[in-house]
Symmetry: C2
Subunit: 236 residues, 2 copies
C-alpha cells in the first residue's frame, strides 16, 4: 500500500509523529505537500464541501480510499499494519492512551510559546509566553517525564512500538526548545537519553534522521527555541 | 458488564463525555469518586507503582480487567458496545477522529480561562484570559462550529452516535460559558439548537439531565462563566 501523507511542508510539527512511524517501517509513502502542487492538493482535501469525511487540520493520511486525520488516530490505524504495535484490541487501546497523553503534551509544548492564540505571532504574546513557559518547565515537564519514566522501567519494557518513536520525538524537540531545563531534568532521569538513543540508532530511523527528509527544528514548528523561555531547573 | 467510572466528583469536566454515553445507553455503571471512599480509590489507581497501566489523569474506566484512560479512548472502546457507534473499523476511526477534534476544542475552551497554568487560580491569570478568550470567541469558536456544522448537513446525517452526545455537551457548555457570543453565533447556525435539542430529548438523556446525577455547570470545570470573558460577536 502506498500511503499519502499530507502535512505542512516546512515544519516537523504533528506530522513528524506519523513520518517517524512510516520511516521506521520502511513504508512506501509520499509526503504530498513537499512535492510541486502538493499544497493545493492538501488545501482542497480540507474543504468540507468536496470531501465526505474532511479533516479539521493536517496531518492527514490517505490509505486507499480512507482519509484519516488526527496524528494519534492515524497511528492507531497505521501502527499494527507497520509492525509497530500489537494487534490485540487491549494492547492497541493502551498504546493509544499513551499516544493521546503525548498529544496533550505536544499541545502544552506548543502553547508554552503561543499561550494566547495560534494565529498570532510569538512576538505578540511574548510576555504571556514567559509566564506559561515557566509553568510548563517547572510543573508540567517533570510531571509528563516522570509519568513516562515510570513506564520505561524494565517491567514495562517490551519491543519498540510507535509510542517509543513519539517519545523520542518529544525528547528531541524538548531538548531543542528547552536545552537548559532538559539538561537539568535529565541529570536524574537516565531513561530519557537511553530511550532517545535506542530509537535514534534504529537503522532506518538513523538513515532518515541524517537525510534531507528530516526537516530541521525551526521557530515555526511546535518546538521552538526562544532563549528567554528556557532556564535551568534547580533541584529538579 | 458493570463499568466503573473514575472522575473528579464535583465537576462535569471531561468525565461528562463518558457519562453521557453510559447514561444514554442505560449502561450499568458506578461513578466511583462520588461514593464514600471513592476519591481514595481513584487516587490509588493513578499511582503508577501499584498499577501496570496507570492513567495520566482522570477520567478513566474500569471495564472488567481493563483500565482505560483518555476520554476519547474510553469512548472508542465503549461506544460500539453501547450501540452508539458502528462496529466497522473505518466508521469507528472516522468518529474517533471527530471525537479527538472535540477533545482539542475542549482544551481550548478550558484554556480560554486558564491560558497560563492549570494549577493556578483564574484570578492569577485574568488579564491573559481576557486576551485568550477574545481569540477563542472570534477565531476558534466559529471555526470549530462551522467544521461540525458542515457535517451536520443532511448528507452526513445518520443515526445518533456518541459524537452527537459530545457535540451536545460542547453546545451546552459553550452556551453556559459564553452566552452572549453563542447567541450571536447561533443566529445563522440553526443546526446548533437542532442538534442540542435532538440529543437532549432522547428519553434516557432527558431523565439524566433532570436528575441529581447531572452535576450543574460551575466555575471549577471546563466551561466557566466569567462575564468579562464573554461578549457578543458582531456579524458572526
Amino acid at each position: 500500500m502506498r500511503y499519502l501523507l499530507y502535512y505542512w511542508p516546512s515544519i516537523q510539527g504533528r506530522g513528524e509523529f506519523v513520518r517517524l512511524a512510516l520511516e521506521d517501517a520502511g513504508a512506501d509513502y509520499v509526503d504530498v505537500a513537499r512535492r510541486p502542487g502538493g499544497m493545493a492538493r492538501m488545501m482542497r482535501l480540507m474543504d468540507s464541501r468536496s470531501v465526505a469525511q474532511p479533516p479539521f487540520a493536517p496531518p492527514f493520511l490517505a490509505a486507499g480510499k480512507q482519509l484519516i486525520a488526527q496524528s494519534a488516530n492515524i497511528l492507531l490505524h497505521l501502527a499494527p499494519r507497520l509492525g509497530l504495535a500489537p494487534k490485540s484490541e487491549a494492547a492497541r487501546l493502551w498504546l493509544h492512551q499513551l499516544q493521546l497523553t503525548i498529544a496533550d503534551w505536544v499541545t502544552e509544548a506548543h502553547d508554552a510559546h503561543h499561550p494566547i492564540g495560534s494565529g498570532l505571532y510569538y512576538e505578540e504574546q511574548k510576555r504571556e509566553a514567559k509566564r506559561r513557559a515557566e509553568d510548563f518547565r517547572i510543573n508540567r515537564l517533570p510531571k509528563f517525564l516522570d509519568y513516562f519514566g515510570a513506564l520505561a522501567a524494565p517491567k514495562h519494557r517490551a519491543r519498540v512500538t510507535y509510542v517509543d518513536l513519539s517519545l523520542f520525538q518529544m525528547i528531541a524537540g524538548l531538548r531543542y526548545a528547552f536545552p537548559r531545563a532538559m539538561a537539568g531534568l535529565e541529570r536524574r532521569r537516565a531513561w530519557v537519553a537511553a530511550l532517545h538513543d535506542r530509537v535514534a540508532l534504529r537503522p532506518r530511523l538513523a538513515a532518515y534522521l541524517a537525510s534531507p527528509r528530516r526537516i530541521p527544528f525551526n521557530e515555526s514548528g511546535i518546538f521552538r527555541h526562544y532563549a528567554e523561555l528556557d532556564r535551568q531547573i534547580i533541584g529538579a
